[in-house]
Subunit: 210 residues, 2 copies
DNA sequence: CCTACCGATCGGTAGG
DNA sequence: CCTACCGATCGGTAGG
């Protein structure tokens, strides 16, 4: 009976390994650029073995997304429960995002809307709103009630729209070509996060029009 | 002799048609997702005919990029010569970018760095800096000397870094899912541009820390 | 989880 | 600019 147990655990491990391997490849190179053979080889498997764990390539991509979304949701909610002020929270969220999503969150979204069937799209979009967007929206709304940030109707915007803007700024696609020292990127990310926050809170204008 | 002339013009037309068709397809779907057969069919040609005008798929992609870069550089420089204040210029650049690059500037950059050979990458990157980035950098630096925006060293940043930030914010990858009325998008873009400028100049903070 | 294999599609070439 | 065609690679299946 222990053998059945071991088999079960081993299958779970393989499943998890495939998801993590595919996550890295898909996020680096994009859905189409990654072949099922490439994923299998990195896992030490043959390509048809993948189809024992996943119905097809799309199903694997969906699993990768769900895994990523769950990871992020937990981390962001932890940050929100741990820190208090809008400024501190934004700093932690910003550095978290920069450290965990190297370059290409945008690649992920392009793939979702171009490679997946409708019902998968909607499912993932719901997960994305829950995992990424809602924590940021919540943070903004609490910032408003704390009087840390301006009244949004006065700005002519909503917490949702602002959340998208913040996520976009944090997850910049276009980066200055400086990637020389890859190891200092953690301190670089902190510095960049602080700049983003400063601009988001106070702007770059010299204040004479305000 | 008129026949030679006609042939020449016709070839030029075909070349241009291929570039414009490929531009649309590549920017919508990405480099890998677009097949040479797809491009040819939209042009009313057979696939091997493309190889009369371009050495291979990569060369066509490079031509598409050069065409796009030239278009943009001309438009941005025209805006800079026509308007005066930082605020006005930023508004016009923002709306121009939003109106001309529907969704996927980020897709383009991903493809450039993942699908092209090194020497093509460098060539396009140079063109991109010249066409997109330099106009924005110039605008920022004139904004500083006009005292319209804060001293950059006080902010701990540079005009280049700020230019990247502005372009990222304008060319947001993540958008609220609202694309219901596609025809009002022009006024929507103007509204969104104004919001971006307001936040970029004055921030969302309530000003008590300033 | 493997070997063996499939139909489809891809970028690209030959030759006219 | 066409027809005809190539080798490579893809996602996926059969059968064990």
């Amino acid at each position: 009976m222990t053998e059945t147990r071991d088999d079960f655990d081993h299958q779970k491990d393989t499943y998890h390994m495939i998801v993590k391997t595919a996550q890295q490849l898909f996020m680096d190179l994009g859905y189409r650029a990654v072949s099922t053979r490439q994923i299998a080889e990195k896992c030490g498997l043959t390509q048809p073995a993948l189809y024992h764990h996943f119905k097809n390539k799309q199903a694997l991509y969906v699993a990768v997304n769900q895994y990523t979304l769950l990871q992020t949701e937990n981390s962001l909610n932890q940050i929100l429960s741990r820190t208090e002020s809008f400024k501190e929270r934004l700093l932690e969220i910003s550095t978290y995002m920069m450290n965990h999503f190297d370059v290409d969150l945008s690649q992920m979204f392009h793939d979702i809307f171009h490679e997946l069937e409708d019902h998968h799209q909607q499912e993932i979009q719901k997960g994305w709103i829950k995992g990424f967007l809602m924590p940021v929206i919540k943070m903004i709304e609490e910032g408003v009630s704390n009087r840390e940030i301006r009244d949004l109707s006065e700005l002519g915007t909503t917490s949702t729209e602002l959340a998208y803007m913040i996520l976009n700024l944090i997850k910049s696609t276009l980066e200055p070509p400086q990637k020389i020292s890859q190891h200092e990127s953690s301190t670089e990310n902190l510095k960049k996060s602080k700049l983003i926050i400063e601009i988001f809170l106070n702007g770059i204008g010299n204040g004479s029009t305000r």
